[in-house]
Symmetry: C2
Subunit: 413 residues, 2 copies
């Protein structure tokens, strides 16, 4: 039952926010504070955050917040003056990427990054055709929403979507080749293939590593670019490296990055191969008022430092594989769980039905653990915690899931 304070907030939301807003859970959580992997509600109850990928180094990380505060006091300005922070951050980012990826452009959000990648790909190829997965999500701007059937809207006119079953990712390459053929039959020139390097809203599809390679070769053969959308998998989430594409042995033409980059502070970017943005830059200006501002860039630097200093990628690999193994054990004894997918701390647990997934996520919330659902049918549990998630946190998560499964099966008897 919502408290009177919650009811007040709910009615104020109804009154002053647009009807595009949605809340998580049948009983939304009224969050007032967060620290590390914990979020706290107004009654002081704590929730284990096994969902939010944005606070990648943990909610309110003191070092990140200190650097944010210091820089906000010192200088918050844009890239039309010479400043140090954007250059330091660009250099640090480039150092994590293959040497082909050389030029950085800062934006504020992943949507802006993907939108800019779309504009650059069109200019670079003189093409207009894009290939996406059937349940892709790449952003909220008009151009990126047209690439995002997961938002419930139709694909844009020159956007070709293909379905890939979690059980058959090996078909990925041939599906992309088929899209290219459809495109050519429709006399549409390919601009780019844009892909989450772990397919997220398609149901968390991650394996086998390398399944993107054939698709990338196909789009290159057709004269299009490969845009790796790293907004979700980037910044160490896979536990195998900084970027999701690295698992596939491919080198993108454009990498887009966002959410975890500022641990909650709005900063995002694209990194391109040397020549890719030239044509775009010769035709038009691109200036993003806040993109690459000194405060955002200091925050971005702080996040990269923490990932390195706390050795988070190795940590993710270890705790991620622990969770995966335990989830597989759980799935063996509960028919409600039909598959475990993902890599590192990006895990999808397929359930037997959308109703089951929804019930489990709501039940977990009541037990004090926050997870979400995803996938074409919303039948997959999405477990995607801050990267500092410890083994003890994993045990709490698994315990809660186990309890929720037991309660669900009792209820269904």
């Amino acid at each position: 039952m919502p408290s009177s304070r919650e009811l007040d907030l709910l009615s104020r939301r109804e009154r002053v926010l647009s009807s595009t807003y949605r809340l998580f859970y049948d009983e939304p959580v009224h969050v007032v504070r967060a620290e590390g992997v914990w979020m706290f509600d107004a009654d002081g109850r704590r929730y284990l955050d096994a969902y939010n990928n944005v606070p990648v180094v943990g909610h309110g990380h003191p070092y990140v917040v200190d650097r944010l505060s210091r820089q906000a006091r010192l200088l918050n300005t844009h890239t039309r003056y010479l400043t140090d922070a954007p250059l330091e951050l660009a250099e640090r980012l480039i150092a994590t990427l293959p040497q082909e990826l050389r030029h950085v452009t800062f934006t504020c959000t992943g949507s802006e990054a993907n939108d800019l990648a779309v504009r650059i790909a069109k200019a670079a190829t003189a093409g207009t055709g894009f290939i996406v997965t059937k349940y892709a999500y790449h952003g909220t701007t008009e151009a990126t929403a047209a690439l995002s059937p997961a938002s419930g809207i139709a694909l844009g006119p020159n956007v070709f979507g293909f379905e890939v079953a979690p059980s058959n990712p090996a078909a990925f390459g041939s599906r992309v080749r088929e899209c290219i053929e459809s495109m050519q039959r429709a006399a549409v020139r390919p601009a780019a293939l844009i892909i989450d390097t772990i397919l997220s809203s398609d149901g968390v599809i991650s394996h086998p590593a390398g399944f993107l390679a054939e698709a990338v070769e196909a789009i290159h053969d057709a004269g299009g670019l490969f845009i790796a959308d790293e907004v979700q998998p980037g910044f160490g989430r896979t536990g195998e490296g900084m970027w999701g594409f690295q698992r596939h042995g491919v080198i993108p033409d454009i990498v887009t990055m966002g959410k975890p980059m500022g641990n909650g502070h709005p900063i995002a970017a694209i990194v391109t191969r040397a020549e890719v943005a030239k044509e775009f830059a010769s035709r038009t200006q691109y200036f993003n008022t806040y993109g690459g501002n000194t405060v955002s860039c200091e925050v971005g630097l702080a996040v990269l430092e923490v990932i390195e200093r706390e050795d988070l990628i190795a940590h993710v690999r270890e705790v991620g594989s622990y969770i995966e193994q335990k989830l597989r054990e759980l799935a063996e004894s509960h028919s409600a769980l039909t598959d475990v997918r993902g890599i590192g701390l990006f895990i999808g647990v397929q359930t037997e039905s959308p109703a089951t997934a929804k019930r489990l996520a709501n039940q977990m919330r009541r037990l004090g653990v926050l997870i979400g659902t995803t996938g074409p049918r919303s039948d997959t549990l999405k477990i995607r915690p801050p990267l500092i998630f410890a083994r003890a946190d994993a045990d709490l998560l698994l315990q809660a899931l186990s309890t929720a499964l037991r309660e669900a099966s009792q209820r269904s008897i």
Copy 2:
């Protein structure tokens, strides 16, 4: 002459940033610190900031920074949990607007706000046609760049642009009616007229108050919406109220706001009439990860409080009209200045040529005062300081402009 440190920064920019980046001034300023209306370079030299509209309450305002820091430590999360800050901010914003404007959606940048307004206008009207001024600038996303001929790209396919001479803003209404007729002849259904309520990149066109009214009536008659782009004029810059459209006696269907809203922190928003976003919301989801996050909203609240507490709108009216009067006096004695336009602290000084404007802006920079240029021919000086700009600051600005004019005229002898 750039210092060796500046040369190093310049070559690093060249190496790691994309070629879309541009710097201000022939001799770019290496900024390392800013406070109030002052920016400081690496040698400790100070520059009076008479250009930047983003730090609306002054660079590094202590109250805004403190609230940013406290909230970043406490809770930075999104709108899919119940949180207090976005509701408080939405309520505060709505209280500054006519009662018809009721529903808020948060984004991170003005570009995202205008992009969302475009999507909503299309859904609300089932139209695809947009009307903009010939030198408009409304953003950097693909959809808003198509409405932004100032960026150097062609108008989008269903975008109709019209020119309005600074000397004849009264023609505004008939130009919009002509665009609507062209649109109807082309069988394009109108979606919206989108206008800066002080025309900015068209050369800072502000007078007479009310010149938008006929155009707004025309677009409404044709079934389209009026989108007031308040990214530049909003938040008190006119000195006559919080919003630029208020001077014109019109009520927009959608108001978009950005830059000054967070004093440099990336936050933006749209506010719509009650029914306007319904159709959009019924068709698709809109979720902006950082938009409306608790930190951004606390910053937005802090900025609104400072504007009110420091009585900045009245201050802007006073100091703005002082500057305008003095600029008119200066223009009388210098033939290089041919017109003074604008309102409050958004002032355009037309010069005799693009070369003159460029020379003056560069000379002012050497004299320690930062201004910019704008207008279709870049022949207009853009003076648009933080709103706390004091009368003494104005005197420094005017003195520097006077010196620059003298030096320019000597050089041209």
